[in-house]
């Protein structure tokens, strides 16, 4: 028998051992009652069935977006309201033994686009030093690695974490992760992005993601993250991505970098979040879809307060507000930055389900943006 797996069973046996050894012999009825109680503990722990090695989970979100008929400048927006099964993600894991395990997430996006978000082998050796390899989530920002709809309040992810940090960003590679004292860290070598897909002035870095399938691997990248949790409720950290995206291009190596600084304060009903992200693509003017700027920059600050935290309802109701600013053409002299004000409320009847309603007010000097009312029903298990 695997001794380490048998820990909970051992605990149940430890409870059971004195069952017949007490000085005052219990009656048969009392013994029967005790056995019933013990069986509650033992049943789920004692059967080493093959399914014990599997784990399942998932999350998903359906989003309604109602666009203003006009842009901020009064021109027709031309946008069509939509109700979208944005994503359904199934999590699947398998334990080979106490050290090695497999974890994965398969995503259906808009009900017809299939992708693997991650499919990785973890080797657990010590708290401080472990192995991870396969198809990995890039460890930058808040949302890329932790994006279940119950973990953020807005109906959609922050725009800074969609354009500057192109969530959901996943590539093939391997590396190490761990925690020691108040620090957590990750460091991976992954295939680089592919500059052929970049259209930075429109979609930020997102077009350069390869997503794992037959990824070009002429160029590689390093990505890492360091977080500090030295004060109760406070998380302060930084992450970096650095590598070439040319993938054999004769025009340029298209060196690509992303750096972010992030902080979160989570105390009682209050949560505050700040993120700053700075990305660059060398020789962006030489891309297939050229950009006038090598640099992209953005930041946001967000706060929310759970007004039901002091109730015993088990629910949460969190009014929140977020201000974002980003510029996909930061290196140009033109005023091209976008301000985004998002405010709304997130209600969770339990910790698995969330209903999120918010208004997103975007503004630019050119008054070309369209404001949106958004609603999301999300789940996670």
């Amino acid at each position: 028998m695997n001794v380490r797996h048998s820990f909970p069973l051992g605990l149940a046996i430890a409870v059971a051992t004195p069952l017949f050894a007490q000085q005052d012999a219990p009656s048969n009825a009392e013994l029967a009652r005790r056995i019933d109680l013990l069986s509650e503990n033992i049943d789920p722990l004692s059967h080493e069935s093959p399914t014990d090695k599997f784990s399942f989970g998932g999350y998903g979100e359906v989003t309604y977006r109602n666009f203003d008929d006009e842009t901020d400048g009064g021109a027709p927006s031309g946008m069509t309201d939509e109700l979208d099964l944005h994503r359904v993600v199934m999590y699947f894991g398998y334990e080979f033994d106490d050290t090695w395990s497999f974890n994965s997430e398969i995503e259906y996006e808009h009900s017809d686009e299939l992708s693997v978000e991650f499919a990785q082998i973890d080797g657990r050796f010590t708290d401080a030093f472990n192995f991870r390899g396969g198809h990995l989530l890039i460890p930058v920002g808040f949302v890329n690695q932790m994006h279940e709809p119950t973990t953020f309040w807005s109906a959609r992810r922050p725009l800074v974490e969609r354009f500057i940090i192109p969530t959901t960003w996943h590539e093939n590679g391997f590396g190490t992760f761990g925690q020691a004292s108040d620090f957590e860290w990750q460091a991976y070598l992954v295939n680089g992005m592919d500059a052929a897909g970049f259209d930075p002035s429109i979609s930020g870095l997102s077009g350069g993601r390869q997503g794992g399938g037959k990824a070009a691997a002429e160029d590689f990248a390093f990505t890492g993250r360091l977080d500090w949790r030295g004060v109760e409720g406070l998380l302060v950290g930084a992450s970096v991505y650095q590598g070439n995206s040319g993938q054999g291009s004769t025009v340029s190596d298209f060196g690509t970098s992303v750096i972010d600084f992030h902080a979160q304060y989570d105390r009682g009903p209050l949560r505050l979040r700040f993120l700053y992200a700075d990305a660059s693509i060398d020789d962006a003017s030489l891309l297939d879809t050229p950009s006038a700027s090598d640099d992209l920059i953005g930041w946001y600050i967000e706060g929310g307060y759970d007004v039901l935290a002091n109730s015993d309802s088990g629910q949460s109701l969190t009014p929140f507000i977020r201000f974002e600013n980003f510029d996909l053409l930061d290196a140009t002299s033109a005023s091209t930055d976008v301000d985004v004000l998002v405010f709304g409320v997130a209600w969770q009847p339990n910790h698995n389900i969330t209903f999120k309603l918010n208004y997103q007010d975007q503004s630019t000097d050119a008054d070309t943006t369209v404001d949106t009312l958004e609603f999301t029903l999300g789940w996670s298990f």
Binding site: P8, L11, V15, S55, N103, G178, G230, E232, D306
Partner: protein, 185 residues
Amino acid sequence: MKTLLFALVYLALSGPGKTFHSQEEALVLAFGKAEVQRTPHYWTKVERTALGELAGTKKVGGTHAKFQAKTKQGKVVAGRSVWFDTRMVRSKPQTIMLIIDAEQRVEKLVVCSFDEPLDYKPVARWYEQFEGRQLNDELQLKKGIHGVSGATLTSRATTAAVREVLAAHATAHPVVIKKATARKK
């Protein structure tokens, strides 16, 4: 190169990463080399209901086991006890050991095993916030216990575990509760 080779060999030979302390090892952390007395508690319906009300949930175990040190003469050392709790985080269990002092406070929380991916395991400092806590309204997430981003399910499971163990301890020692209540007044 030698250092790297040494590190790889060390990792290959080091113990599996999911169990940090067996039950025996954890009890040594609590009581040293002293002999240990195991006392099972088989709750009656009334006790179990009371325990659930204290813990703040209807889903509490029907049995709990308490561990106490014994003197060389075989007498149980009263006042300080150890309890274990095993429960699911997402789809895999975490086992913690709690040392409860004579004032019904958490003296120490030790994570014995953690079967979920390590991404869900909070840093040690997060677990330390339970030390010194008693069973009261503040012992809840978003009240006296702060959450941890990236490990929400673990923080919920751990908080529920600590509440249930303290409730079991209080149910097993109702006289101590009366004394503590009287002292407060």
